[in-house]
């Protein structure tokens, strides 16, 4: 054969060889098969008691310091919302700095609309609702990640791979609970991880430890003797935005219909 045909054939052979090396890594039936079946022993769930929460904001501060979220940045992995329902049926809600400094005024923070004075005698009920990532069973944020930078572990925690995240923000738009944000330093997607580095060592999350009133608790739903599991199974609990089908795993005692 002449030089031309030789070169052509060599190119063809090399091209054919590269395909099996690389293409089939994308679809590996073996891996997919292994991932089915429920053999897990741990599935983390969270319990929030809105009767106990007083809005002190210690949890928000602890989370920021534990997880190195810049203290003065206006983003946070967890926050507390205040709801004040007045006699005229209106709901006033706010979360100044995510309640990093607690609630030390009765005025409601309305952003560019300023502050709203609410008279004590007009209040029908008021309460505080801590929020954090729900580590959903069907996380829409993981579904929409184009590169596989965010994922869910076997025990249900949704994490973000900072080295792989391209910062497109699709996961942030995909979360119905507004839990995700861009880390101000790393410029990658960021969210509450249930302090994965603590719970996998037998500790509690920073926010659970910091709460003086026991409003926050973490547990393992697969363990029937876990006190959190017992409460979820035997008492009246609610979840947020059930209509989205995300199957969130943060349960609320005393969840009011006014909670947004």
């Amino acid at each position: 054969m002449n030089r031309r045909d030789f070169l052509k054939n060599t190119a063809r052979v090399i091209g054919g060889l590269t395909l099996p090396l690389t293409a089939f890594k994308i679809i590996n039936p073996g891996e997919l098969l292994a991932s089915t079946g429920d053999k897990t022993k741990v599935r983390w769930v969270f319990l929030v008691d809105t009767y106990k929460c007083v809005g002190c904001g210690m949890c928000v501060r602890a989370c920021k310091l534990e997880n190195d979220i810049p203290y003065d940045a206006k983003v946070t992995r967890t926050w507390v919302e205040r709801y004040v329902i007045t006699k005229d049926g209106k709901t006033h809600a706010d979360s100044p700095m995510g309640a990093r400094d607690g609630f030390t005024t009765s005025k409601i923070d309305l952003g560019i609309d300023g502050y709203e004075n609410v008279k004590k005698e007009d209040i029908d009920k008021g309460f505080f609702v801590p929020k954090l990532c729900n580590q959903c069973e069907n996380p829409p944020c993981v579904q929409v990640c184009p590169v596989g930078a965010t994922y869910q572990t076997e025990d249900g925690i949704v994490l973000v791979d900072r080295s792989w995240c391209i910062g497109c923000g699709y996961c942030i738009m995909g979360c119905p609970y507004g839990v995700r944000f861009f880390h101000p330093v790393y410029h990658t997607a960021e969210k509450c991880t249930f302090c994965y580095h603590r719970i996998t060592k037998g500790m509690k999350t920073a926010c659970v430890d910091a709460c003086p009133f026991g409003a926050r608790q973490i547990g393992n739903i697969k363990d029937p003797n876990d006190p959190v599991t017992k409460i979820i199974m035997t008492e009246r609990v609610g979840i947020l935005k059930e209509e989205y089908g995300t199957k969130p795993q943060v349960y609320y005692v005393g969840l009011d219909r006014e909670v947004k």
Partner: protein, 418 residues
């Protein structure tokens, strides 16, 4: 310490702490530019597939412009990404459950189709330029470069007999045919990116991909018409300036300028797609108001309150109704076409704006609002790329690229055989 999005977001009433307008002007530009790409291609295919003879000149023009636009279309995304250099991860480990992951495959396929179609269209021209240069003994640096470029572009095929040219023609027809659904997919997936986000009450609708495709075709046709008119008029002006009075009587081609029949024909297709697009949008709005689900209260206050001017005055009236009237009134003139087409492009841009920015105008709490203050005067890289100047640069770049590419793929004075 500023968080991304904090600079141009103003929060009102109850907004979650982590909510900011993360998808800003560049995310408005991206579907706008890909829409122009898809629309230009569909226009070109109307001639190659359906054989509408009057569109012949427009077809070649549209295809080259579509190619120039294709290179610019990923630019808004690259500018928006917080880590643009890691952007190749979309090609390396695509997560196909995400609509954005389709970007790699769809763009590549579409690019391959347009490039191939252009190759078949211009192959004869490449050979005709490359062969004489090959013979020439002492070439200048410029001629060497030209020879190298055109030689590569022939892809080693120098046969320009009637037989092969006929096969070229068939290949173009096939590619243009395949290309139409791919172009639809190119923009449909962009619509799917928004329509599938159940977390966003304004975006979530199955109509979103279809609305996006229809308005994309509208914008593509409008842009091609505008660029065609402008280019032809410039050529006429330059040609008449260069000629002596006697020459002016001899060459009619350059002095022709814009051909009114071509414009009128294209305008008919523009009208058809415009009506389709606006019908779908109105259908979506009516449905939402009629079913009045949980999000309707806050959506209504955004659509009929805060964004009323943006939606009903700028997009629907100035961007749709007025051009509709301008094109429907009989006896369409070039001047009226220019005004109509510019308004249409503005209307399509406002549609993208109202979807992207409008969708972030209300909080996930349904009890608060966010206001978008686009950075106008840039004072650093962030305020440039996510501000007005970044958007304008993205819009201007295809025209610059088109001028460059037209040197290799000449749009005028090409002696064709088919």
């Amino acid at each position: 310490m500023m968080v991304h999005g904090e600079l141009w977001t103003a929060k009102e009433l109850f907004v979650y702490p982590n909510e900011y307008i993360y998808w800003s002007i560049q995310i408005v530009m991206y579907p706008f530019m890909t829409g122009l790409v898809a629309g230009a291609f569909v226009l070109s295919s109307l001639y190659h597939v359906f054989g509408i003879k009057q569109l012949k000149e427009m077809a070649r023009f549209a295809l080259v412009f579509s190619f120039a636009l294709l290179f610019v279309a990923p630019l808004p995304i690259v500018l928006h990404l917080q880590h643009p250099f890691k952007g190749i991860n979309v090609f390396m480990t695509p997560h196909f459950t995400s609509a954005i992951a389709a970007f790699g495959i769809v763009f590549f396929t579409y690019g391959a189709i347009v490039a191939s179609e252009l190759w078949f269209l211009y192959r004869k021209h490449f050979v005709e330029v490359a062969l004489p240069l090959k013979e020439k003994q002492d070439k200048t640096i410029g001629e060497w470069l030209k020879f190298f470029i055109f030689c590569t572009l022939t892809l080693g095929v120098y046969d320009i007999s009637e037989e092969t040219l006929k096969r070229d023609h068939k290949a173009i027809k096939v590619l243009a045919g395949i290309g139409i659904p791919v172009a639809c997919f190119l923009h449909g997936y962009a619509g799917f990116i928004f329509g599938s986000v159940k977390a966003n009450a304004l975006w979530m609708t199955p109509l979103m991909p279809v609305i996006f495709i229809m308005s994309a075709i509208v914008s593509g046709i409008a842009l091609c018409m505008l660029t065609y008119i402008v280019t032809m008029e410039i050529r006429k002006f330059l040609a008449s300036r260069k000629m002596t009075p006697t020459q002016r009587f001899q060459s009619k081609e350059d002095l022709k300028g814009v051909e009114v029949s071509v414009v009128r024909m294209t305008a008919k297709y523009l009208l058809f797609f415009m009506v389709f697009a606006i019908s779908l949008e109105l259908l979506d709005l009516i449905f939402r108001g009629y079913t009045a689900v949980k999000s309707w209260d806050v959506l209504r206050s955004v659509i009929y309150g805060r964004d009323f001017t943006d939606i009903f005055i700028l997009q629907y009236t100035i961007g749709n109704l007025i051009p509709l009237i301008l094109f429907l009134v009989p006896g369409l003139t070039i001047r009226r076409t220019i005004v109509g087409v510019i308004l249409v492009l503005f209307g399509v841009f406002m549609m993208r704006w109202n979807v992207v920015i409008g969708g972030q105008a209300f909080s996930l709490s349904f009890a608060g609002y966010m206001h978008y203050h686009m950075p106008i005067i840039p004072h650093d890289w962030e305020t440039f790329k996510e501000g007005l100047f970044g958007a304008v640069s993205v819009f201007i770049l295809p025209f610059v690229l088109f001028w460059v590419i037209a040197k290799v793929f000449p749009v005028f004075d090409l002696k064709e055989s088919h």
